[in-house]
């Protein structure tokens, strides 16, 4: 009826709440490739590997660089290279499949549509990750996009890149410790006790902060905030209530256990050096 006369601009909505999560190793490799980019190249691109989690989050776990050439109106992507590399990665971890592609630069740019089109043929609904390596706004902008097809009737008209939420919490990097990852040079990896010391120090400053805050509130220097107060009460309450007697017993038991272990290891070491001496003595025979 009227619909046939009117041209209908169709907008295909995205499937529910799509979001992405990126692992620090991906950002590191993108930066590395950008630092090693060929002369004249303005930006670098590559393939993102990972998986789609059951809740629809795209988990970007790995990536590899793909060489490409770009001029004003065309993009040449080394497709053979892309496929070879993908096969190699599959051999190591078959669970990681193509989920999208990355590019350096601020947001989506000219040739992106063509490349995105190529990746759409590799995987349905690819994610496009942009990493602003030039720090245009003076901050590290990392964004994820998916493309939405706009079509006029049956005719594809354009593709719209839509930003999707990106989780940048980098738990993996936290485990290693930002102290190591954010400096350009670190002379030594902290050993067990040094790491412990750093953590303890941080805990102490936190406790000091809390003390200061509570004192300030009590002295009416700071307006009390109920939610902070509740969180503090909760964390104090999270300490299990144990009678001092049983706590001492628990504590002493643990200490004894550990002391015994230390004793055992020293004993073993003494044995080892003794055995060593005996061996050399036997050789003189």
């Amino acid at each position: 009826m009227t619909a046939s006369k009117h041209t209908v601009l169709q907008f295909v909505p995205l499937t529910s709440s799509l979001s992405a999560r990126v692992h620090p190793v991906v950002i590191f490799s993108i930066c590395d490739y950008y630092v090693r980019r060929p002369d004249q190249a303005e930006r670098v691109i590559g393939t993102l590997l990972g998986s789609v989690l059951p809740d629809g989050t795209v988990d970007i776990r790995n990536s590899y660089a793909v060489p490409h050439n770009e001029s004003s109106d065309q993009v040449a992507l080394d497709i053979d290279y892309h496929h070879n590399m993908y096969l190699s990665h599959q051999k190591v971890n078959p669970k990681e499949v193509i989920v999208g592609w990355y590019s350096t630069g601020f947001g989506v740019s000219g040739g992106s549509e063509l490349i995105h089109d190529f990746y759409s043929r590799e995987v349905a609904n690819p994610v496009h990750l942009t990493v602003d390596t030039s720090f245009q706004n003076g901050e590290a902008v990392i964004k994820a996009f998916t493309s939405v097809n706009l079509s006029l009737g049956d005719r594809p008209l354009a593709a719209q890149f839509q930003e999707i939420p990106l989780d940048l919490r980098l738990i993996e990097a936290e485990r290693v410790g930002f102290d190591i990852l954010k400096k350009t040079i670190v002379d030594k990896i902290p050993n067990d006790l040094e790491g412990m010391e750093a953590s303890m120090e941080r805990l102490l400053t936190l406790i000091d902060d809390v003390y200061k805050y509570v004192d300030d509130v009590v002295e009416h220097r700071v307006a009390p905030d109920n939610s902070i107060g509740r969180t503090l009460a909760d964390s104090v309450a999270s300490l299990p209530k144990i009678s001092s007697g049983s706590f001492d017993k628990l504590m002493n038991d643990r200490l004894q256990d550990h002391l015994l272990l230390v004793f055992l290891t020293s004993l073993t070491r003494t044995q080892l050096s003794l055995a060593e001496k005996l061996n050399t003595a036997a050789q003189i025979l």
Binding site: S29, F247, R254, T268
Partner: protein, 337 residues
Amino acid sequence: MVNPLTRSFLQAAASEEVASPLRVVQIEGLVILKIIKHCKEFSSALVTGQLLGLDVGSVLEVTNCFPFPIREEDEEIEADGANYQLEMMRCLREVNVDNNTVGWYQSTLLGSFQTVELVETFMNYQENIKRCVCIIYDPSKSNQGVLALKAFKLSDSFMDLYRTNNFTGEKLREKNLSWVDIFEEIPIKVSNSALVSAFMTELEAETPVAQCDYDRLKLSTDPFMERNVEFLIECMDDLSMEQQKFQYYYRNLSRQQAQQQAWLQKRRAENMARKAAGEEPLPEEDPSNPIFKPIAEPSRLESFLITNQIANYCNQINGVTGQSFSRLYLMKALNNK
């Protein structure tokens, strides 16, 4: 003015020829994260991968790496693995990654890596590249907030001995090589490009507590300790087996010597009798006699490696108990408040 300069240049050129010993391994943050990712994903199995980088004077820079697929014992697949390696190196060269093998990394379970296989792999690598390292990562320890990354190489004197395959007591004594001298640990430096450093500074979460702090302050160490002690006990058993082998060898040796002595006395007495009778004396050696056959001395390599492992477990247990003590006292302080 010219003379001292030229001399110093000559000296420099001369000293260049003597390869300076490897002092530091400098790893990129990217490599650390890649190794951790690979080792964690397959934490039940032990995995390996190749390290790429540059050899600059006394510093070995590791700038990239790639994982190996899990190895299988099939010959065809083995050839496949070699292809994979070449293909990967070729591909990485195309995107300007340093195309120079500097060693390999592998995951380990509680630091039980000092094995004959590792020594063999190292020798293989050493044949092709002058300077190589092995980086060991322990995923089980990283759950406690420790970055358990270590770089190792075999000591030169040990490699000399290994090439001649001579691990008898006498040779070891001659070279003054004890079990401590097999592996040399090389200090690790971490470097990041300015770009990565900028990104990480920006992306570091605002929260004052990071995941590694939580991990470090966790009170439960029992499962880790339990396994450590279990491994230690196993190793002790192995070591006593090795020592029994040596005891057996020495017992045999002394028995043989006694037999030889007895035979010699008998022969001498015989010779005296022959001399008295005016006959030619018989030779005082008889190679055809089985009691003169030398008994092969068992190799000490295995027991050396086991000793190394035991020392390693001891260190680990000590380290963890040290941490536990501080945690316990912290708990006590908190409880008193």
